[in-house]
């Protein structure tokens, strides 16, 4: 079990899983960062993103990767509308109001999916579903590699958008100090709607990508959502690079833990990490990094 070959194989699998975890957590981190709202409907949009990818695949034989990209504008609009019509109205209330509202949205999305697609397991099989590539003598599943590449690509695009564009600067300013952002002339209301739209689009994008790996039902995403919470807390809640690092911590811990403990305790490990992060370093790895630099 502890051969170099096995340890490297586990490491590769963990790295690829980290990409998957990061992809499904970006949206959650973005919305929390800008609005301090925990988007419980994230899993619902992840699931709906998977089903819409199935629709594109059935109707137009669209590859799931392209389907995931098509999800971006479609769900950006859905998120924008959700914010404008509902979420905006509870922003001034206690945080529990938005939490309950978005939980209700999640339940509604699940039931809508149930009405349309039923409770059967659905999946998309492509020509490369079972294909793999050899990298330095190690077999790497092509679908996982693609999800990883897309997750890295999304991180890169987000990095550029946040760092180089007015929108990104306005978003970051709103994250850092909403009142100062208003004083600087930023329409924070509009920025919040944009952030919610973008966060929702990222969730649906991830849902589309995950169809390459998993079958899905209207209940899809529930376990992954819990994992996403752990990841964004570990990552410092507001940082995309932190999300990637948080995803890597969870993924590597889960993967290598199988060597020492029962695989059935994998989820327990994730939640233990969440508790430890909340108690020991509530600011996540971003806080540790800031402390180290200062």
């Amino acid at each position: 079990m502890f051969t170099a070959q096995n340890l490297i194989s586990i490491g590769i699998a963990a790295l690829l899983t980290a990409g998957l975890y990061a992809a499904m957590s970006y949206g959650l981190a973005l919305i929390y960062g800008v609005m301090k709202v925990i988007n419980l409907s994230n899993a619902g949009f992840l699931m709906l993103g998977a089903f819409m990818t199935l629709v594109y695949s059935d109707a137009w034989h669209l590859d799931p990767m392209l389907g995931a990209v098509v999800n971006l504008p479609v769900f950006f609009l859905a998120g924008w509308l959700l914010y404008t019509l509902l979420v905006r109205r509870v922003m001034a209330a206690l945080p529990i109001a938005s939490l309950l509202l978005l939980f209700a949205v999640w339940l509604v999305l699940q039931n809508v999916a149930l009405l349309i697609w039923g409770s059967d397991d659905h999946s998309i099989i492509t020509a490369y579903t079972y294909k793999a590539v050899e990298i330095l003598g190690f077999r790497v599943p092509l679908t996982r590699l693609l999800v990883f590449a897309f997750a890295l690509g999304a991180l890169g695009v987000l990095h550029v958008v946040l760092g180089r564009t007015y929108l990104g600067k306005a978003l970051r300013a709103t994250v850092q100090d909403p009142q100062a952002a208003v004083l600087a002339g930023i329409d924070t209301e509009r920025i919040s709607a944009l952030a919610f739209g973008l966060g929702t689009a990222l969730a649906a994008f991830a849902g589309g990508l995950l169809t390459l790996l998993f079958s899905f039902t209207p209940a899809f995403g529930t376990d992954l959502q819990l994992k996403s919470f752990t990841i964004i807390v570990l990552g410092g809640l507001e940082s995309f690079t932190g999300v990637m690092v948080g995803a890597a911590i969870v993924s590597f811990a889960e993967s290598y833990a199988v060597l020492f403990m029962r695989a059935s305790l994998q989820n327990v490990l994730s939640y233990a990490l969440l508790v430890v992060a909340l108690v020991v370093m509530p600011g996540g790895v971003a806080q540790l990094w800031t402390r180290h630099r200062s």
Binding site: S9, I125, T129, L224, E254, V258, S264, L265
Partner: protein
Amino acid sequence: MRRYLRVGSVLFIVPALLLVLVSPGRPAAMPEIKVGTVLPLTGAFGSAGLYFRQGYQMAVDDVNNGGGLQVGSQKYHVNLIILDDGSNGTQSRSLVEKLVTDQHVNFLLGGYDTSLVEAQEVVPDQYKIPYVEGGGAASDIFKRGYKYLFGTLATVYDMGTTTADFLTYQMSQGKLPKPLTEAVVYENTDHGKDYINALTDEAKAHPDLFKIVLSQPFQLNGSDFSPLLQQVKAVNAEAFLSDAHLPDFITMQRQYLQLGMYSPFISYGARGPDQAGRRALGDGADYLVAALWWTPALKDPGSQLFTARYQQQFNATPDWFQALAYDTGRVLFAGVHNANSLDGTAVRDSLARLVFRSALIPGNVIRFGANGQIQGSPYVVVQNTPGNTVRIVWPRNLPETRDVTLPVPRMP
């Protein structure tokens, strides 16, 4: 305006009431038996819950279309009340209680899967209402001394021993190496524990035949099995045996193939031929071997008729879920009929004595042991073949049994 509204209401309401009174279903004078069931129509087990609903409904339709259930000198219309537990154990138990206290059901049909049946099984004895289930197969369900609980599924332990018998024969035919190294992964439930216990007992009893080189439990409804599968890959066993429910089976087999893994023999317990699994995995489900409680490949007249009826009604091929639900419903009705009474204790005693000879399961007979569990271990072993077909490969004495393809071909 008010007058028009009144006239309008009368125009709509009177015909509606008349329609209710004359609607087909049952004669107005026929009394009703309420049968309740709590199924996972949503959540992780949603697909299986839907299949159980279909099977139960077919059994109820049989009775009602035949003029009702004869109990003593009276015929009764059967009213099936179904509630959805969302695949949640806590909710499942309280909904069964709700069926009894709010809906006043006379009898109960069981839910699906083992964990939800275990959550439900405490209620029937409390209210002395017979409960027949075909969705929970762990032997632990029947070790708690309940008297009003009856199960039509052979245990998962028996599934493990049936698989071992099948493997022993294949080794004797030179189709698999002897001794056979086994990597066993199983869900962390009573279902999974039954499976690993059976395989461990077989390995201890026959060290010359079986050698378990890996035994690992996994979390039910897991999202990522790749770390576990890396362990399986590392031990390079000749047989990969997994006890998994449908969603886990689909995810695990998909990841197994994506990791480029291969074993000369692969089985996921009772999973493999499920239509949902085959749709989700495509060619990736070919040549899997499964031990089942029923398959449409059985050629006995009852199974063939059921398959044809199901296909006609639902435009799909049935799996064991629907067939066992159908059997379970019919067993309950036979028990009620034989009891000549609607009294819970009388029906319970009738079920305990029942020998039901027109079941769909292999052997066609259902009778219960003292603990309420079906007697015998009526399993068939099947192998998926390309083109969404299956063939029965065990037991050898069935006329429809064919040779198994072993070692399984590598996926191109």
